[in-house]
Protein backbone atom coordinates (compact mmCIF):
# COMPACT_ATOMS: atom_id res chain seq x y z
CA UNK A 1 0.00 0.00 0.00
CA UNK A 2 2.77 2.42 0.76
CA UNK A 3 4.42 1.77 -2.64
CA UNK A 4 1.32 2.75 -4.46
CA UNK A 5 1.31 6.19 -2.85
CA UNK A 6 4.84 6.87 -3.93
CA UNK A 7 3.95 6.23 -7.50
CA UNK A 8 1.07 8.68 -7.34
CA UNK A 9 3.28 11.58 -6.32
CA UNK A 10 5.18 11.89 -9.63
CA UNK A 11 1.86 11.98 -11.48
CA UNK A 12 0.83 15.06 -9.52
CA UNK A 13 4.10 16.76 -10.37
CA UNK A 14 3.55 16.19 -14.05
CA UNK A 15 0.11 17.88 -14.04
CA UNK A 16 1.22 21.04 -12.27
CA UNK A 17 3.23 22.72 -15.10
CA UNK A 18 0.22 22.58 -17.52
CA UNK A 19 -2.02 24.77 -15.27
CA UNK A 20 0.65 27.41 -14.80
CA UNK A 21 0.87 28.14 -18.59
CA UNK A 22 -2.80 29.26 -19.17
CA UNK A 23 -3.29 32.94 -20.01
CA UNK A 24 -6.05 35.32 -21.14
CA UNK A 25 -5.69 37.89 -23.79
CA UNK A 26 -8.25 40.66 -24.30
CA UNK A 27 -9.09 42.57 -27.41
CA UNK A 28 -10.96 45.72 -26.50
CA UNK A 29 -13.51 46.68 -29.15
CA UNK A 30 -14.59 50.29 -29.02
CA UNK A 31 -17.00 52.02 -31.35
CA UNK A 32 -18.60 55.40 -31.72
CA UNK A 33 -21.65 56.85 -33.44
CA UNK A 34 -21.31 60.48 -34.27
CA UNK A 35 -24.16 62.80 -33.44
CA UNK A 36 -26.00 63.38 -36.63
CA UNK A 37 -29.21 64.58 -38.21
CA UNK A 38 -30.46 63.83 -41.70
CA UNK A 39 -33.48 64.65 -43.82
CA UNK A 40 -34.52 61.61 -45.79
CA UNK A 41 -37.18 63.71 -47.52
CA UNK A 42 -35.58 67.11 -47.80
CA UNK A 43 -37.62 68.99 -50.37
CA UNK A 44 -41.31 69.79 -50.78
CA UNK A 45 -43.30 72.58 -52.42
CA UNK A 46 -46.38 74.51 -51.34
CA UNK A 47 -48.16 76.10 -54.31
CA UNK A 48 -50.73 78.86 -53.83
CA UNK A 49 -52.62 79.43 -57.04
CA UNK A 50 -53.96 82.90 -56.16
CA UNK A 51 -52.72 85.07 -53.31
CA UNK A 52 -55.03 88.04 -53.85
CA UNK A 53 -58.68 88.46 -53.02
CA UNK A 54 -60.79 87.90 -56.10
CA UNK A 55 -64.06 89.58 -57.07
CA UNK A 56 -64.78 93.30 -57.00
CA UNK A 57 -65.36 93.90 -53.30
CA UNK A 58 -63.55 96.37 -51.09
CA UNK A 59 -60.57 94.06 -50.57
CA UNK A 60 -60.22 92.95 -54.17
CA UNK A 61 -56.60 92.76 -55.21
CA UNK A 62 -55.16 92.73 -51.70
CA UNK A 63 -53.81 89.65 -49.92
CA UNK A 64 -56.23 86.88 -49.09
CA UNK A 65 -54.44 85.56 -46.01
CA UNK A 66 -56.60 82.46 -45.97
CA UNK A 67 -54.85 81.23 -49.08
CA UNK A 68 -51.58 81.05 -47.13
CA UNK A 69 -52.50 80.36 -43.52
CA UNK A 70 -52.71 76.69 -42.71
CA UNK A 71 -50.91 75.50 -45.80
CA UNK A 72 -48.43 72.78 -44.90
CA UNK A 73 -46.03 70.18 -46.20
CA UNK A 74 -44.16 67.32 -44.55
CA UNK A 75 -40.45 66.65 -44.61
CA UNK A 76 -39.00 63.47 -43.10
CA UNK A 77 -35.82 63.18 -41.09
CA UNK A 78 -34.07 62.02 -37.97
CA UNK A 79 -31.58 62.99 -35.31
CA UNK A 80 -29.71 60.50 -33.17
CA UNK A 81 -28.78 62.79 -30.32
CA UNK A 82 -30.97 63.83 -27.42
CA UNK A 83 -29.55 67.33 -27.60
CA UNK A 84 -30.45 67.88 -31.25
CA UNK A 85 -31.99 71.19 -32.25
CA UNK A 86 -34.29 72.34 -35.02
CA UNK A 87 -34.20 75.81 -36.54
CA UNK A 88 -36.52 77.44 -39.09
CA UNK A 89 -35.65 80.21 -41.51
CA UNK A 90 -38.62 81.70 -43.36
CA UNK A 91 -38.02 83.69 -46.53
CA UNK A 92 -40.94 85.91 -47.65
CA UNK A 93 -42.87 85.42 -50.85
CA UNK A 94 -41.62 88.06 -53.23
CA UNK A 95 -42.31 89.11 -56.79
CA UNK A 96 -39.63 90.56 -59.02
CA UNK A 97 -42.16 92.81 -60.78
CA UNK A 98 -41.83 96.53 -60.12
CA UNK A 99 -44.18 98.14 -57.66
CA UNK A 100 -45.90 101.50 -57.78
CA UNK A 101 -47.66 103.68 -55.25
CA UNK A 102 -50.40 101.67 -53.61
CA UNK A 103 -48.91 98.28 -54.48
CA UNK A 104 -46.72 95.70 -52.74
CA UNK A 105 -44.77 92.73 -54.03
CA UNK A 106 -43.98 90.92 -50.77
CA UNK A 107 -46.02 88.57 -48.59
CA UNK A 108 -44.72 87.77 -45.11
CA UNK A 109 -45.72 84.82 -42.99
CA UNK A 110 -44.73 82.71 -40.02
CA UNK A 111 -43.42 79.19 -40.60
CA UNK A 112 -43.65 76.53 -37.91
CA UNK A 113 -41.85 73.21 -38.08
CA UNK A 114 -43.07 70.45 -35.80
CA UNK A 115 -40.99 67.35 -35.10
CA UNK A 116 -41.12 65.04 -32.12
CA UNK A 117 -43.99 67.24 -30.79
CA UNK A 118 -41.67 70.21 -30.62
CA UNK A 119 -42.25 73.45 -32.55
CA UNK A 120 -39.64 75.72 -34.05
CA UNK A 121 -40.86 78.93 -35.66
CA UNK A 122 -39.65 81.88 -37.63
CA UNK A 123 -41.28 84.92 -39.18
CA UNK A 124 -40.23 86.30 -42.53
CA UNK A 125 -40.93 89.84 -41.31
CA UNK A 126 -37.81 91.97 -41.15
CA UNK A 127 -34.31 90.89 -41.99
CA UNK A 128 -33.64 87.35 -43.10
CA UNK A 129 -32.51 85.45 -40.01
CA UNK A 130 -33.17 82.07 -38.44
CA UNK A 131 -35.64 81.67 -35.62
CA UNK A 132 -34.78 80.45 -32.15
CA UNK A 133 -33.50 76.84 -32.12
CA UNK A 134 -35.81 74.36 -30.43
CA UNK A 135 -34.54 71.22 -28.72
CA UNK A 136 -36.05 68.48 -30.80
CA UNK A 137 -34.09 65.64 -29.18
CA UNK A 138 -33.69 62.16 -30.57
CA UNK A 139 -36.35 61.34 -33.11
CA UNK A 140 -37.13 59.87 -36.48
CA UNK A 141 -40.17 60.76 -38.51
CA UNK A 142 -42.13 63.64 -39.97
CA UNK A 143 -41.23 67.29 -39.82
CA UNK A 144 -44.49 69.13 -40.48
CA UNK A 145 -44.04 72.66 -41.85
CA UNK A 146 -47.08 74.94 -41.52
CA UNK A 147 -47.58 78.56 -42.64
CA UNK A 148 -49.55 81.14 -40.67
CA UNK A 149 -49.96 84.88 -39.99
CA UNK A 150 -49.70 85.90 -43.64
CA UNK A 151 -49.55 89.65 -44.13
CA UNK A 152 -48.43 92.45 -46.40
CA UNK A 153 -47.78 96.12 -46.01
CA UNK A 154 -50.83 98.18 -46.93
CA UNK A 155 -51.49 97.92 -50.62
CA UNK A 156 -52.57 95.81 -53.53
CA UNK A 157 -50.50 92.86 -54.71
CA UNK A 158 -48.66 93.25 -57.98
CA UNK A 159 -49.57 90.55 -60.48
CA UNK A 160 -47.15 87.74 -61.22
CA UNK A 161 -45.29 84.87 -59.64
CA UNK A 162 -44.19 84.95 -56.02
CA UNK A 163 -41.51 82.72 -54.50
CA UNK A 164 -40.47 82.09 -50.92
CA UNK A 165 -38.84 79.33 -48.90
CA UNK A 166 -38.86 77.67 -45.51
CA UNK A 167 -35.53 76.12 -44.54
CA UNK A 168 -35.59 73.69 -41.63
CA UNK A 169 -32.21 72.83 -40.17
CA UNK A 170 -31.66 69.88 -37.87
CA UNK A 171 -28.42 70.05 -35.89
CA UNK A 172 -27.09 67.48 -33.44
CA UNK A 173 -25.16 68.38 -30.32
CA UNK A 174 -21.49 68.56 -31.17
Amino acid sequence: MRKLLLIAAPLALLASPVLAQSSTGNVIVNGAVASRCLFTTNSKTITITELAQTGTGAGAGSLDAATVNGRNETLVGWCNSSASTMTVTATPLTNVASVATGFVNRVDYTATANANSVNATDTSVGALAAGTPANVGLFTGNVLVTLSAASTAAGLLVAGAYAGNVAVTLAPAI
Partner: protein, 191 residues
Protein backbone atom coordinates in the same frame (compact mmCIF):
# COMPACT_ATOMS: atom_id res chain seq x y z
CA UNK B 1 12.38 59.74 -51.07
CA UNK B 2 9.50 59.56 -53.44
CA UNK B 3 7.76 57.04 -51.23
CA UNK B 4 8.18 59.22 -48.19
CA UNK B 5 6.62 62.20 -49.91
CA UNK B 6 3.70 60.06 -51.05
CA UNK B 7 2.97 58.85 -47.55
CA UNK B 8 3.08 62.35 -46.13
CA UNK B 9 0.60 63.57 -48.66
CA UNK B 10 -1.82 60.75 -47.91
CA UNK B 11 -1.79 61.50 -44.20
CA UNK B 12 -2.49 65.17 -44.78
CA UNK B 13 -5.50 64.38 -46.94
CA UNK B 14 -7.13 61.81 -44.70
CA UNK B 15 -7.14 63.73 -41.44
CA UNK B 16 -8.88 66.89 -42.65
CA UNK B 17 -11.59 64.81 -44.31
CA UNK B 18 -12.36 63.06 -41.06
CA UNK B 19 -12.42 66.34 -39.20
CA UNK B 20 -14.94 67.87 -41.63
CA UNK B 21 -17.33 64.96 -41.26
CA UNK B 22 -17.46 65.57 -37.53
CA UNK B 23 -17.66 69.35 -37.62
CA UNK B 24 -20.70 69.92 -39.83
CA UNK B 25 -23.26 67.21 -39.29
CA UNK B 26 -26.37 69.41 -39.46
CA UNK B 27 -28.81 68.91 -42.31
CA UNK B 28 -31.34 71.23 -43.94
CA UNK B 29 -34.64 70.48 -45.64
CA UNK B 30 -36.50 73.04 -47.71
CA UNK B 31 -40.15 73.72 -48.36
CA UNK B 32 -40.48 76.00 -51.35
CA UNK B 33 -43.48 78.33 -51.12
CA UNK B 34 -44.76 79.47 -54.49
CA UNK B 35 -47.68 81.79 -55.10
CA UNK B 36 -49.29 83.72 -57.89
CA UNK B 37 -51.40 86.81 -58.35
CA UNK B 38 -53.43 86.99 -61.54
CA UNK B 39 -53.34 90.21 -63.55
CA UNK B 40 -56.54 92.12 -62.99
CA UNK B 41 -58.06 95.56 -63.50
CA UNK B 42 -60.99 96.84 -61.50
CA UNK B 43 -62.88 100.08 -62.08
CA UNK B 44 -64.43 101.91 -59.20
CA UNK B 45 -68.19 102.40 -59.39
CA UNK B 46 -69.06 105.59 -61.32
CA UNK B 47 -70.09 108.55 -59.25
CA UNK B 48 -72.59 109.74 -60.29
CA UNK B 49 -73.80 106.75 -62.24
CA UNK B 50 -76.31 108.89 -64.13
CA UNK B 51 -75.68 112.24 -65.75
CA UNK B 52 -78.86 114.23 -66.24
CA UNK B 53 -78.42 117.12 -68.66
CA UNK B 54 -81.92 118.42 -68.13
CA UNK B 55 -83.40 120.48 -70.92
CA UNK B 56 -80.79 120.69 -73.64
CA UNK B 57 -82.20 123.40 -75.88
CA UNK B 58 -82.40 127.12 -75.57
CA UNK B 59 -85.97 128.11 -74.75
CA UNK B 60 -85.84 131.67 -75.94
CA UNK B 61 -83.70 133.92 -78.06
CA UNK B 62 -82.15 133.41 -81.41
CA UNK B 63 -81.18 129.82 -80.60
CA UNK B 64 -84.55 128.81 -79.34
CA UNK B 65 -85.05 125.16 -80.20
CA UNK B 66 -81.36 124.61 -80.80
CA UNK B 67 -78.89 123.17 -78.33
CA UNK B 68 -77.99 125.43 -75.44
CA UNK B 69 -74.54 125.81 -74.02
CA UNK B 70 -74.36 122.79 -71.77
CA UNK B 71 -71.75 122.73 -69.03
CA UNK B 72 -69.23 119.94 -68.91
CA UNK B 73 -70.22 117.01 -66.76
CA UNK B 74 -67.84 115.07 -64.55
CA UNK B 75 -67.98 111.47 -63.36
CA UNK B 76 -65.43 109.84 -61.08
CA UNK B 77 -64.42 106.20 -61.03
CA UNK B 78 -62.67 106.08 -57.66
CA UNK B 79 -59.94 103.66 -56.62
CA UNK B 80 -59.63 102.06 -60.02
CA UNK B 81 -56.59 99.85 -60.41
CA UNK B 82 -54.58 97.49 -62.57
CA UNK B 83 -52.03 95.33 -60.75
CA UNK B 84 -49.73 94.90 -63.74
CA UNK B 85 -47.63 97.02 -66.04
CA UNK B 86 -48.97 97.95 -69.45
CA UNK B 87 -52.60 98.93 -68.97
CA UNK B 88 -54.72 101.48 -70.75
CA UNK B 89 -58.12 103.16 -70.61
CA UNK B 90 -60.54 102.99 -73.51
CA UNK B 91 -63.63 105.15 -73.79
CA UNK B 92 -66.57 104.28 -75.97
CA UNK B 93 -69.21 106.98 -76.23
CA UNK B 94 -72.64 106.76 -77.77
CA UNK B 95 -74.30 109.98 -78.81
CA UNK B 96 -77.48 111.01 -77.06
CA UNK B 97 -80.35 109.91 -79.24
CA UNK B 98 -84.02 110.77 -79.07
CA UNK B 99 -86.19 107.93 -77.87
CA UNK B 100 -88.32 108.37 -80.96
CA UNK B 101 -86.47 106.42 -83.61
CA UNK B 102 -88.22 107.95 -86.58
CA UNK B 103 -86.22 109.97 -89.10
CA UNK B 104 -86.38 113.66 -88.20
CA UNK B 105 -87.79 116.16 -90.69
CA UNK B 106 -85.42 118.35 -92.62
CA UNK B 107 -83.78 120.95 -90.40
CA UNK B 108 -84.17 118.77 -87.33
CA UNK B 109 -81.91 116.27 -85.60
CA UNK B 110 -82.46 113.57 -83.04
CA UNK B 111 -78.82 113.26 -81.90
CA UNK B 112 -76.54 115.17 -79.58
CA UNK B 113 -72.84 114.61 -79.93
CA UNK B 114 -70.24 115.18 -77.25
CA UNK B 115 -66.67 114.49 -76.28
CA UNK B 116 -65.90 111.97 -73.55
CA UNK B 117 -62.50 112.19 -71.91
CA UNK B 118 -61.04 109.83 -69.31
CA UNK B 119 -58.13 111.30 -67.38
CA UNK B 120 -55.93 110.32 -64.47
CA UNK B 121 -54.46 107.08 -65.74
CA UNK B 122 -51.57 107.20 -68.17
CA UNK B 123 -49.50 110.13 -69.36
CA UNK B 124 -52.21 111.00 -71.87
CA UNK B 125 -55.99 110.93 -71.75
CA UNK B 126 -58.37 108.60 -73.49
CA UNK B 127 -60.82 110.67 -75.45
CA UNK B 128 -63.38 110.36 -78.21
CA UNK B 129 -65.97 112.56 -79.83
CA UNK B 130 -69.15 111.13 -81.20
CA UNK B 131 -70.15 111.99 -84.75
CA UNK B 132 -73.75 110.87 -85.04
CA UNK B 133 -75.72 112.15 -87.99
CA UNK B 134 -78.97 114.05 -87.71
CA UNK B 135 -80.98 110.85 -87.93
CA UNK B 136 -78.91 109.18 -85.21
CA UNK B 137 -76.79 106.84 -87.26
CA UNK B 138 -73.08 106.29 -86.55
CA UNK B 139 -73.65 107.20 -82.94
CA UNK B 140 -70.75 105.28 -81.46
CA UNK B 141 -67.08 106.19 -81.27
CA UNK B 142 -64.08 104.89 -79.34
CA UNK B 143 -60.77 106.29 -78.19
CA UNK B 144 -57.92 104.84 -76.15
CA UNK B 145 -55.22 106.37 -74.03
CA UNK B 146 -51.56 105.43 -73.94
CA UNK B 147 -50.21 102.46 -72.04
CA UNK B 148 -49.20 102.96 -68.43
CA UNK B 149 -45.86 101.28 -67.68
CA UNK B 150 -46.49 100.32 -64.04
CA UNK B 151 -49.26 98.98 -61.85
CA UNK B 152 -51.57 101.82 -60.97
CA UNK B 153 -54.18 102.77 -58.41
CA UNK B 154 -56.01 106.00 -59.13
CA UNK B 155 -59.32 107.78 -59.50
CA UNK B 156 -60.27 108.03 -63.15
CA UNK B 157 -62.13 111.18 -64.02
CA UNK B 158 -64.51 111.13 -66.97
CA UNK B 159 -65.60 114.44 -68.45
CA UNK B 160 -68.42 114.92 -70.94
CA UNK B 161 -68.10 118.17 -72.83
CA UNK B 162 -68.55 120.01 -76.12
CA UNK B 163 -72.18 119.04 -76.64
CA UNK B 164 -73.35 119.74 -80.16
CA UNK B 165 -76.00 118.81 -82.66
CA UNK B 166 -75.35 117.71 -86.26
CA UNK B 167 -75.68 120.74 -88.51
CA UNK B 168 -76.73 122.73 -85.43
CA UNK B 169 -80.22 121.62 -86.35
CA UNK B 170 -83.27 122.00 -84.22
CA UNK B 171 -83.71 119.11 -81.84
CA UNK B 172 -86.80 117.00 -82.00
CA UNK B 173 -88.70 116.78 -78.77
CA UNK B 174 -88.50 113.81 -76.45
CA UNK B 175 -86.17 112.07 -74.04
CA UNK B 176 -82.59 111.54 -75.08
CA UNK B 177 -80.14 109.01 -73.77
CA UNK B 178 -76.59 107.95 -74.45
CA UNK B 179 -73.92 105.89 -72.77
CA UNK B 180 -70.26 106.13 -71.98
CA UNK B 181 -68.39 102.88 -71.46
CA UNK B 182 -64.99 103.03 -69.81
CA UNK B 183 -62.76 99.98 -70.16
CA UNK B 184 -59.59 99.46 -68.17
CA UNK B 185 -57.42 96.60 -69.35
CA UNK B 186 -54.20 95.46 -70.95
CA UNK B 187 -52.81 97.79 -73.55
CA UNK B 188 -53.30 96.63 -77.09
CA UNK B 189 -50.24 94.97 -78.53
CA UNK B 190 -49.09 96.41 -81.82
CA UNK B 191 -48.90 93.88 -84.61
Amino acid sequence: MKKLLGLSALVLVVFPAAAMAQANPSNTGNVAVNGRVAPVCILGGPNPALVDLGVMIAITGTRAGRIAVLPAQSVSLPASFCNFAGSQVTVTANALLAANAGAPPAGFARAVNYTATAAGWAAGNAATTTAATANGSSASSTGSGPSHPLPKLADIGVTLSSFSVPGDNLLVTGNYSGTVTVTLGPAAVAN
